[in-house]
């Protein structure tokens, strides 16, 4: 999108803030909807130094406890995200250039958080039903790979 715009700007000399808005939309949507996918693949960044050095029972506890708390935090954020999105929807705020409804941008936050919470609960479940330790549904602990 951005590149298309540079081309059109070079060619026609016209401005290109449409692209900026669409890029922004893409970034917001990708960021929050990505929470769940990254959770499944175990791609979230964490400071795992202590986890990695812990004995197995502690690891098992954290592998169940952490996703649970993470899910709770995400559900809370998702709840406030819903209220926020609804508030934006009511004011009818639009983006400056495209006059695209702004709430469609921010609705990605509650959606992403709720779906993410479900995935973290599944990660927790993997650790409850299996003997091995799973960092994520699709990723076992480094020691067990």
């Amino acid at each position: 999108m951005t590149c298309g715009n540079v081309l059109t700007r070079i060619i026609t000399g016209s401005s290109w803030h449409f692209a900026a808005e669409i890029s922004r939309l893409a970034v917001i949507v990708a960021t929050f909807l990505g929470i769940s996918y990254a959770a499944r693949k175990g791609r979230h960044i964490s400071m795992s130094a202590f986890f990695d050095l812990s004995p197995k029972p502690v690891k098992k506890f954290l592998a169940i406890f952490n996703p649970l708390v993470t899910a709770i935090v995400l559900i809370t954020i998702g709840y406030f995200g819903t209220i926020y999105t609804y508030g934006i929807y009511e004011t009818g705020r639009t983006t400056a250039a495209l006059e695209f409804p702004f709430w469609l941008m921010v609705v990605a936050i509650p959606l992403g958080c709720f779906i993410g919470a479900i995935q973290f609960l599944r990660n927790m479940w993997m650790n409850i039903v299996n003997k091995e330790i799973y960092i994520a549904e699709d990723k076992k602990d480094y020691d067990e790979q």
């Binding site: 951005t2 590149c3 960021t31 960044i45 130094a49």
Partner: protein
């Protein structure tokens, strides 16, 4: 309240939570339980704000372009070209990496974009010629810091607005410290290569060099278009990121035909997941910094530590520590906006040159983003290279030591930043 905020963060962090949770949970608890007249949706607003910056859009685009080029042939041809000329020099690849980061940083203005755009292709090559992964990654992260010092630097522009300094003067003043870091890194790379006996490539005859150059001609258009485009004013750094995606697609899909059209969504998905993992942290960091500055914590802390009539050196020391710590958590731009107005009057009163102050501040901001335990560049590298946090920071100590030495030098000898200015 400060201790609740920091306590929650540190404990959750040490327990190995996904990094976004320690950043979000603290502010959430404060807003929900300590400030009952505050609307909690402010968290959401600030998370959106954190990832809305136009400059940041460059990051996912560079990630995407780098992914395309590494799945295809472009980056290899480029590196063959570099290798043909400097492969036989000790530490040549490492020095090239540092130089490439400096050069690219000078145009992108974003240390994160630099980690991705230079780091991805360079790391593979460094591994191939025998570097340990930890030293390769450490070099990439830390060399990307230089980006914030070499003009044009967005950090300097923001500092100039909040202070009364001239952007032009700041740009010139950043060059000295930037080059000094590069020299330290280059020297270290040379010594490192000697000690670890990194094998030297054969010195290539000129005929072969010409051959490689010819093959690299199209990929070479890439840096030329990007750097040339920005310097001649055809596009801004963010647009350059867009152009680099387009150029990479044209090369790999249409010309080399190494990537099929149907493979592009897969590459985009992989770029997307990396973007998401990093940007969730940027969003959380913004919510965190909002609560910090709403509670006036920076102001309270500075009042507490400054005392009456502090000496210039003491002020610079405190400034360094605050910016260094601040930038471990939050985007450097935000930190500069919040902290500069608090410190600038104290610094002026202590007789510190505002240009020198600006250089110290931007230097610490850059340093803070690459230093463990936190630092956005570390998160970015962890995500982009799919390496655990420990693997990423393992090799950084020598670089941190060098940066701290340069940092002390810059604080103590203001001529390192001011000498170029005084020459004119």
């Amino acid at each position: 309240m400060i201790w609740t905020l920091l306590g929650i963060m540190v404990i959750l962090l040490l327990m190995g939570f996904p990094m976004m949770i320690p950043m979000i949970a603290g502010p959430l608890v404060i807003i929900l339980f300590f400030m009952d007249n505050l609307d909690p949706t402010i968290m959401i607003q600030q998370m959106v704000e954190g990832i809305s910056s136009y400059v940041l859009i460059a990051v996912p685009l560079f990630i995407f372009a780098a992914d395309i080029m590494t799945s295809g042939r472009t980056s290899n041809k480029l590196l063959d070209f570099v290798g043909a000329f400097i492969g036989h020099i000790r530490g040549g690849y490492a020095i090239t990496t540092a130089a490439a980061c400096t050069l690219f940083g000078s145009i992108s203005g974003s240390t994160q974009a630099t980690v991705v755009a230079i780091g991805k292709p360079m790391r593979e090559r460094l591994l191939k010629v025998g570097y340990k992964d930890s030293s390769a990654i450490a070099l990439i992260i830390n060399a990307s810091d230089i980006a914030l010092l070499i003009p044009p630097s967005i950090g300097m522009i923001i500092y100039a607005l909040v202070s009364d300094a001239s952007v032009g003067d700041l740009f010139i003043a950043g060059i000295g410290p930037g080059v000094l870091i590069f020299l330290f890194f280059a020297t270290y790379s040379y010594i490192h290569a000697r000690i670890y006996n990194i094998p030297l490539g054969p010195k290539m005859p000129w005929k072969e060099r010409g051959n490689v150059t010819l093959k690299a001609l199209l990929p070479l258009g890439f840096p030329i278009i990007i750097i040339g485009g920005i310097y001649t004013g055809q596009f801004t750094p963010t647009e350059a990121a867009g152009v680099s995606v387009l150029y990479a697609l044209i090369l790999e899909v249409l010309i080399y035909k190494t990537i099929k059209f149907k493979e592009i969504p897969g590459i985009a998905l992989s770029s997307g997941i990396v973007t998401s993992a990093v940007f969730v942290l940027v969003a959380g960091g913004q919510a965190f910094s909002w609560v910090i500055s709403f509670l006036r914590i920076p102001r309270m802390l500075t009042d507490a530590v400054m005392g009456p009539d502090p000496s210039a050196l003491y002020v610079l020391l405190i400034v360094s520590i605050f910016f260094f710590i601040g930038c471990m958590f939050v985007d450097p731009i935000v930190v500069i906006l919040i902290l500069t107005p608090i410190f600038a009057p104290v610094a002026t009163a202590a007789g510190i040159d505002p240009i020198h102050l600006g250089v110290v501040i931007v230097f610490q901001a850059a340093l803070g983003s690459a230093t463990p335990p936190f630092g956005v560049d570390i998160f970015t590298a962890s995500s982009v290279f799919n390496k655990s946090y420990l693997d990423v920071i393992r090799g950084t100590p020598p670089y941190i030591v060098m940066l701290l030495i340069v940092s002390v030098l810059v604080v103590v000898f203001e001529d390192i930043s001011l000498f170029l200015l005084n020459m004119f």
